[in-house]
Structures are given as structure tokens and as C-alpha cells.
Symmetry: C2
Subunit: 330 residues, 2 copies
Amino acid sequence: MLTYRDAGVDIDAAEELLRRLKPAIRSTFTPAVLADIGHFGGCYDARFTGYAHPVLVASTDGVGTKVKLAIRLGIHSTVGQDLVNHCVNDILCCGARPLFFLDYFACGKLDPAIAEQVIGGIITACRENGCALLGGETAEMPSLYAPGDYDLAGTIVGVVERERLLDGSRIQAGDVLIGLASTGLHTNGYSLALAALRSEDLETYRPELGSSLAEALLSIHRSYAATLLPLLERGLVKGLAHVTGGGILGNLTRILPKTVRAQIEWSAWEVPPLFRYIQRAGHIPEEEMRRVFNLGIGMVVVTAPETVSEVLALCAEEQPVVIGSVVPAA
Amino acid sequence: MLTYRDAGVDIDAAEELLRRLKPAIRSTFTPAVLADIGHFGGCYDARFTGYAHPVLVASTDGVGTKVKLAIRLGIHSTVGQDLVNHCVNDILCCGARPLFFLDYFACGKLDPAIAEQVIGGIITACRENGCALLGGETAEMPSLYAPGDYDLAGTIVGVVERERLLDGSRIQAGDVLIGLASTGLHTNGYSLALAALRSEDLETYRPELGSSLAEALLSIHRSYAATLLPLLERGLVKGLAHVTGGGILGNLTRILPKTVRAQIEWSAWEVPPLFRYIQRAGHIPEEEMRRVFNLGIGMVVVTAPETVSEVLALCAEEQPVVIGSVVPAA
């Protein structure tokens, strides 16, 4: 006699998890969430009062093998924050502010205590970004994931006024590139970093990092929304590039018109010790480092020369630095 | 000397995949998609002309261990359709029509040919449901997934007029439950089914199924949108329950007011042979079957007694059958 539980799927554990999380999920709700009416879907008021031509901006992402590191270290409360902040930064690059988020949590064996920490991180970051956690799916898939393993993905939906949508088209030669500091690897390059560091003890304190490798590697991917939304409001930004896979140049290329290119002054800022540590440990060529990692710059703001000082002043808390300029492509 | 590729992440393969898929992805675009402007997010016109009070309805889901079966059988073109149709049916239960979809595809080793088939299935179903594929994420995570394995999740966003939002509140004792036929297990109960069938040869033709077990099990989760959206327009529907995990009763409970309950006539329809085959093979108790599987009923329509014949006529292609009624809870 076989039951779902025998086959490795515990519906009661999933219900217990939802019961535990419900009050915290509700704490993310904004007035636009039409709570208690969407049984099969989350409902969100789409009147967007105050917008002449609202545009939804949506993005889906995961946190890559940073989850694997979190699992290995048994620290489950931060990857959810990485995920939400990553998604918030992505739609910010289109000029959008976050409205709501939905998560996907898949695991081999559902441990409600661990899942609660992971989704708790999502809830924390949703609250910090003024973003409602509108829905989600928890999947127990014993044949696909090893018992302690899980994966995490999420989708964000935000809104922007059509005429304030950032599409990079106003960027021109002479514009200035301002880099905002990252808090570490953010969510990119973990497979390479962990391969490079495979013989290192991650939990020993490293004076050059001011922390252990584990702590430095799990440092939370930060959200730039609180800093950048006011700049977007004031029209000071011609383009934003979130530095994810592809590095600084790869991501700038996504937003620049074909007539121009980015010229980076690689010596303009000091690459944080964590990146140099990884590079040394893995003998990783400099070109590969630039293609894979953010090297200390988590977001690039493109602005006109005459607004540089204003942007630098308004971003002061993000350790802003002029990292280059926009030049003709030819 | 170590590179990202050495660490198991092939950025070029991911770019090749996107290049291959781009024309097909574009084929899903509706006029509301603001194409070519969202570099870090997909952009969708949110003016919703014709709606007095538009409400967005969003849902995230996966396909569970049905992916594991697809991987085992080497048939990759259908799970994407399962995923989209599942999500479409979920928001349909709130009365919403689909607007756009975003997918998450995670794998151990990115094989562009396989990923193209998987995402091709998503594209096919998006087109069939009039839903734009607005974005997505492809993640290569060698340490989390075995080389041939992948997981799949997705998020749908739809819209409904506020006063047409189905919240079950109009359901009352005396209302009638009409079941629409499923095409198989849809996307629920695969861990249990595969455990029950572990000694069976899935690819042998089974006369009682009219197919092999593999074919019956991989049968595509169908979308009820084309049938049900016109009924919703006409106001013939008081509630819809998509029969997913939790079975017929579990899902009806999600939409019924607390003052009533569903009374199912379990003998009103014939449970398809596939379910009985699984039950026999796994010696699964009848109660467990009802809690885990749809047993041949993929969607339940709740309607008033006076509109039953009209609903039956309009759903004729879905083999509709009266499966019970709504009775007082006491």
C-alpha cells in the first residue's frame, strides 16, 4: 500500500509551511493587493491612478549556485533577499518601481523550518522594497533534488510611466558612467568562484577580507531601488545597467545604442579583495574576471556630463565612482 | 587557469539558445508587448482599454516530477505546454484571461537542443492561449542538477474586470458541480504514480489504455481557457476549481464559502483506466487517490441549477458531466 507521503511528497508539511508563513506574507501586502479573493491566483489592483500611460515591467530570475553555497553553509535566510533584490534591480534598469513578486521554491525533501527561513528572506526583501509577495509555489520533488538541496526562482512585476521608461535611446557620446558599489559577488559567478575556491576552508577568518570567505561570498545582493528611484523621478538618469552575468561591459552593451560604446577606466576603482582572492586561487585570466564578475560595481548609472555631480551627491551612500564614459562606436 | 566554462557554465551556449529561440518568442507577442525596449525586463502596456477597474491576477507554478518522466523518456516538447496550460487554468479560476508569461529553466548542463524543445513547448502553449512570452531565465547549475536533469517553472499574469472577478462568494447551496474531462494526470501526483509504476515497462503498448503508460502519463495538461472564457463573459459561472494537488474536493474547498460544502457523486463518471492502473500497481487506497489525483476531472464549474443545461451545451467538447452539488455545510 503506497501513499503520496511514501513517495516522498508530504502535503501536510507544505500546508504547515503556508500556515507558518501567512502572517509574514500578509505583512508585505500593499493597499493594491486584493487579499482573500484570489484562491488560485494573487490579485492586484491595476488602475494605476496617477499614471497617464502605465507600463508593466516583468522579470524572472534565480540566484544561481549561490543557493548551493547557502545549503552547504546551512545559512538559509539570505538567498531569498538576493533573489528579490536582484529582480528589483533588473526592472529598475527599465525605470520601474516594484509592485509584486511571486516565488518558486523547489526541494528534494520539504523541511518546513528551512523553507521558512528561505521564504522569510524573500519576505524581508519584499517589505524593504515595498513589493507585495503575491503568490508562490513550493514543490517537493524527491527524484530531482537531493534531500537537503533546493532551488529558488522568482518573478517581479513593476510599473513605470511610458515616457519615463528607460530604454537607453537618449544615451550619447560624452555621457558619463558612474558605478555604484556592489556588496560582493551579488548573484553571479558562483560556479566559477566555488570551483576556484574548492581547496579553501570557507569558514576561517581571512584578515584581508575582514571576514571568512563564506561570509564574504554570502553577502546579500543589495537593492539600489531606494537610492535610484528618486534619481529616476528627477530625470537624472539616461540609462542603468545592473551588473549581472556578462560583467560591466556585457551589461552596458545591453542598453547602449549601436552608435556608441562604453569606455571603462578599469583603474578608476579598487577591485575588492574578495575578487582578487578568487582570481588568485583559480588563476583566472583578467578578461574572464571582467566577463563573469561585477568586480565591485553592482550598478552603472549613465548620466549627462552636466548632471554628474548631482548624481554623485545623491548616490553618496553607494560609494559612487566615475568608471568611464560613452564614446562613439567607430 | 580556470574559466567559467571549466566550472561548468557555458555563456556561449546560453546565447546560442536565445538566438535560436528569438523568432519563436516574438511569434507570441501581442500588440500590448512593447518589444525591443526592455533590456532588463519585459514591457507590457497596462492601459487596459475597455476595463473600468482592471485587476491583475498572477500565479507561479511548476510541473512537478512530470519533468523527471519527460527527461527519462527523452520527450522534451510537452512539459512546457503542461506548465503554461496549468498556469492559464489557475488564473481562469479567478475569471482572468492571460496576458503574459515568464519562464524559469534550470539545468545541470545546458544542451541548447533540449532547452529549445522545452521552451518551444512553452512558446506553443503561449501562442495557443493568446499569452505573450515576455521574459525568462535559463540557469546552468552544474552542482545542483545532474547532467541531463532540468527543472521548469513559470509565472503568468492575467487580467479581469473587478466586478467579474470570481471569488466564490456567490456560490450557494443548490448550485451544481459540472466536471470537465482531464487529459490524464495533468501535472499532479507524478511522484506517487512513478513510485507505483516503478516495476512497469512504461513503453509497452497497453490495450486497456490504448497507448503505452509513457504516452498516457505524458499526455498534455490541457487549457480550458478557450472553452471557459466565453462562459465567463456570459456570467454563467459562479466558481471554477482547477483540480490540482488536493484533488477534486481539496480544490473545491478553496473556493466554497464556509457555509456550504461540495457533495460529490463519485459514481457519476468513469475514472479513466490510467488512474485505476496506477491504483492497482501501487495498492493505493481510494481516499489517497481522491486526495492526490484528478481522477478524470480537470476542472469543476460551479453554476446555478437554471444554467446547467446551457453550461453543458457550451462545454460539449469537454465531455462535461454533473459530478455533484453544493449543500449546506451543517
